[in-house]
């Protein structure tokens, strides 16, 4: 974790976000306090979550059988995962990939390419997206190509 904190400090302004996800029991207050104390001790000032899912569920969703694991997503949402068996070695590989993917964006910017995404959404998903902007004035434009 301290390595991730350093990595975040080093690259946050270049476009890196770090998220930690603890898979401990979120109903165990003692564990939550222990996690929080640790995160404060290492000054983990990024998004820290504790996952409210049964072990079998998150293992299936992530496609892994245990932890620690690190997923690195590029700017387009593609990812590579690292099984942190040898944590020091894997973190070095993670940082190497992070640097590579951060640079990829820099070269795209130099070409003046805009990042545009279109995705299917249900009504519920749309409502959730709007909810996310509560407090702002939101302009919702329904349109079509005809």
């Amino acid at each position: 974790m301290p390595h991730l904190v350093q990595m975040h400090k080093k690259y946050a302004d270049k476009g890196l976000a770090v998220i930690t996800v603890a898979v401990d029991d979120p109903r165990n207050e003692k564990t939550k306090a222990s996690l929080t104390n640790f995160l404060k001790r290492v000054n983990a000032t990024f998004s820290n979550f504790i996952l409210d899912e049964k072990e079998a569920v998150w293992q299936k969703k992530f496609g892994i059988e245990g932890i620690p694991y690190i997923f690195v997503f590029n700017r387009e949402g593609k990812y590579k995962r690292f099984e942190a068996g040898d944590i020091d070695e894997e973190l070095a590989n993670v940082e190497k990939l992070v640097v590579e993917w951060l640079k990829a964006r820099a070269s795209e910017r130099s070409k003046g390419q805009a990042q545009v995404e279109i995705k299917p959404v249900t009504r519920a998903g749309l409502e959730q997206e709007i909810e996310r902007h509560k407090g702002k004035v939101v302009l919702l434009n329904y349109w079509a190509l005809f």
Binding site: M1, L4, M7, H8, Y11, A12, G15, L16, A17, V18, I19, T20, V21, A22, V23, D24, P26, T31, K32, S34, L35, T36, K40, N43, A44, T45, F46, S47, N48, F49, I50, L51, D52, E53, V57, W58, K60, K61, F62, G63, I67, P68, Y69, I70, F71, V72, F73, N74, R75, E76, G77, Y79, V94, V98, W101, L102, R105, Q115, K119, R132
Partner: protein, 57 residues
Amino acid sequence: MRHAVILTGLTLLAAALPAQQAAPEEVSLKVVNYDQLAETVRQLRGKVVVVDLWEDT
């Protein structure tokens, strides 16, 4: 097939908190389910995102 499931799940992961979400100033720990985590990651598209799965116990 397994990779497809993972990809689907993690593509969903690439769909969550505000895209240009600022890092919290203070250290905090929030309880989320998988879908909320997925939404958080998705909303960060445009950034390089490191997701660290760990446990205290």
